[in-house]
């Protein structure tokens, strides 16, 4: 029952998220709003560590990589696009990844030092 209870919380929050997105015609995915809804539930209800929702999250999140597999296999379908634009995608991806990593790391570290002074 704990598995069902935990999953019900997750799916219930997702459903609330979907309803909010539909009602407001928001450009945000339902599950992301569901994440905020669950965060609010956790802050208000303060379930103890080890509650059904904690257990469901701890069961699901370590296997997040499994959930990426079908989408990743989708690369096969878009192989033609990749072959044509492959070099552009790879260069843009690697350079953009590096710029993003440096931007966040430097900004956060710089602001921490400024405040420590």
């Amino acid at each position: 029952m704990r598995v069902v209870s935990g999953l019900t919380w997750l799916l219930g929050c997702q459903l609330v998220g979907e309803v909010v997105v539909h009602a407001l015609d928001a450009p945000v995915p339902g599950p992301v709003v569901g994440m905020v809804v669950l965060l609010l539930v956790l802050l208000v209800r303060r379930p103890p560590e080890g509650s059904s929702v904690h257990q469901a999250a701890d069961a699901l999140l370590p296997h997040l990589q499994l959930l990426f597999v079908p989408a990743g296999v989708g690369v096969v379908v878009y192989g033609a696009v990749l072959r044509q634009d492959g070099p552009a995608i790879v260069v843009a991806l690697v350079v953009s990844w590096l710029l993003g990593l440096a931007a966040v790391g430097w900004t956060a570290q710089l602001l921490t030092r400024e405040r420590a002074r």
């Binding site: 999953l7 997750l10 799916l11 929050c13 997702q14 998220g17 450009p27 945000v28 995915p29 339902g30 599950p31 992301v32 994440m35 905020v36 809804v37 669950l38 965060l39 956790l42 929702v53 999250a57 699901l60 999140l61 997040l64 990589q65 499994l66 959930l67 990426f68 597999v69 079908p70 989408a71 990743g72 296999v73 690369v75 096969v76 878009y78 696009v81 634009d85 070099p87 552009a88 995608i89 260069v91 843009a92 991806l93 350079v95 953009s96 990844w97 590096l98 710029l99 993003g100 990593l101 440096a102 966040v104 790391g105 430097w106 900004t107 956060a108 570290q109 602001l111 921490t112 405040r115």
Partner: protein, 231 residues
């Protein structure tokens, strides 16, 4: 044989087995390249090509796996909630760092891909690449990109982080643990986070936090950012 290859369960079981093999390889070798998602994608893509099975058949069989991306995204609230206490006194570096990160990640990817000859569709497709897969897929659909290609590019960004982020951050002289975690989660989401959890507890925690907040910030900002970076 063709009956067997067309059966949805065949591909669900194959996906689970390939993932399990990936987990086994990661735990046994500890090699950064041995990521379960990478092993799973490579093995199944090879199987589909070699056995001449189309993606629709595969996607039908793995519907339940893809479906779980929704509740998994909601579940990200749990690690986020656990780390709220660590944020005391760190609001400015966190918010400023991640906002700069979202703009740089989205802007640089869109501009570079167009500069290198990609069209508008490709620019929309690369825009949400830094977010965790469930969010990237949903966002790609929202801004009319090619969702499976977005996921593939995002997964590649994640694997890049799992393999290279700690080394590159040291090279960039980012040594503060919270900043290292934030930077990795901001550009390599869950896959980068799984590596940082092995590196240092604080780096893992802040990488997970950055993954959640980057997903949230990107979701809110992307509709505003995309028109700015289309040429």
């Amino acid at each position: 044989m063709s009956w067997f290859l067309a059966h949805p369960l065949t591909w669900l079981v194959a996906t689970l087995l390939a993932y399990r093999l990936g987990v086994h390889l990661r735990d046994r070798t500890g090699h950064p390249v041995a990521q379960p998602v990478l092993v799973g994608v490579v093995l199944l893509a090879a199987a589909l090509v070699l056995l001449d099975v189309d993606y629709a058949t595969y996607a039908e069989g793995t519907t339940i796996v893809t479906f779980l991306l929704g509740p998994a995204t909601v579940a990200l609230a749990v690690p986020l909630h656990r780390q709220l206490g660590r944020l005391r006194g760190y609001a400015l570096p966190l918010v400023a760092g991640l906002l700069v990160g979202v703009v740089v990640s989205v802007g640089s990817a869109m501009l570079l891909v167009q500069l290198l000859g990609g069209d508008e569709l490709l620019a929309r497709t690369v825009a949400p690449k830094a977010t965790t897969a469930p969010v990237a897929i949903a966002l790609s659909r929202t801004i009319e990109g090619v969702a499976p290609l977005t996921a593939a590019i995002g997964i590649t960004a994640g694997i890049l982080g799992a393999v290279a982020a700690p080394t590159v951050l040291t090279w960039l002289r980012v040594r503060e643990h919270r900043a290292r975690g934030l930077a990795t989660g901001a550009v390599s989401h869950g896959i980068g986070t799984s590596r940082m959890l092995h590196e240092h507890p604080v780096e893992g925690a802040f990488s997970g936090l950055a993954m959640g907040l980057t997903a949230l910030a990107t979701s809110l900002l992307l509709p505003l950012l995309v028109p700015l970076f289309l040429r």
